[in-house]
């Protein structure tokens, strides 16, 4: 289930209304309403040319007003929004819906490490405590390699710890 922000919900609601209007126009069920709205707007335009934009805005507002969308009840009940199509549409028009991150997990932040390896690389030459199922190894982290890390203990012993066996790391 994709969690949408308020902005995305509003955008989807807007597209939903536009889609309903398009369906309505295609079926010709709301022609009289729209015609009336257009006529009203045109009447306004004849009185003042400068109000053309306002009339258009009002017309769009009328179209988007749910009370003017007198859809057949069976049609409105069966209407569904194609989210995949919406995403494709957004991609076509280069719209940023802010969904990103593959639809799961916390929002990505390129500044924060996301893997144990990246975290450990930031701790090289610092004292660490690495816990594995068998025991905890304390010492200075000497290096982070492909599948293991190297720790020098206070006794001078060198310890190679398998990365995939690390349960947690303490500083």
């Amino acid at each position: 289930m994709v969690n949408l922000t308020e902005r995305q919900k509003k955008l989807i609601r807007l597209l939903n209304l536009l889609s309903q209007n398009a369906v309505n126009n295609a079926l010709g069920t709301n022609d009289t309403n729209n015609t009336n709205n257009t006529n009203d707007a045109n009447n306004t335009n004849t009185t003042n040319n400068t109000t053309t934009n306002d009339a258009n805005t009002a017309n769009i507002a009328n179209i988007l007003n749910p009370s003017n969308l007198n859809l057949d009840s069976s049609l409105s009940n069966s209407f569904s929004l194609d989210l995949l199509g919406l995403l494709r549409l957004a991609a076509d028009f280069n719209l940023d819906l802010g969904i990103g991150n593959g639809g799961g997990g916390t929002p990505g932040n390129p500044g924060n490490p996301t893997k144990m390896r990246e975290i450990l690389q930031g701790l090289v030459n610092k004292p660490v405590q690495v816990t594995t199922p068998f025991d905890t190894i304390s010492g200075t982290l000497l290096g982070v390699l492909e599948d293991y890390i190297v720790i020098i203990e206070e006794t001078g012993s060198q310890v190679l710890v398998a990365l995939d066996k690390i349960e947690f790391v303490g500083q």
């Binding site: 068998f134 025991d135 492909e146 190297v150 060198q158 190679l160 066996k165």
Partner: protein, 69 residues
């Protein structure tokens, strides 16, 4: 100084004394051979007999090379 992979790093230390920890055991001995994802250890039992132990690399938690006394 260190090889990228643990399996490539260990052959450099053949002949060294090691302590190898798995999930439930700590094995002490001398690193004798590393081949095909397996680590061969020669361990001295309490009876003074050499025992060869074979440990799969993927079961290892860590390998300690104790500092020379």
């Amino acid at each position: 100084m260190f090889q990228d992979r643990l399996i490539d790093q260990l052959p450099i230390r053949i002949g060294a004394g090691v302590e190898i920890a798995t999930d439930n055991n700590l094995i002490e001995g001398t690193l004798s051979l590393v081949i095909g994802g397996l680590i061969f250890i020669i361990s001295i039992s309490s009876y003074g007999i050499d025992i060869r132990l074979i440990i799969p690399l993927n079961s290892i938690n860590f390998i300690r090379f104790p500092a020379a006394a």
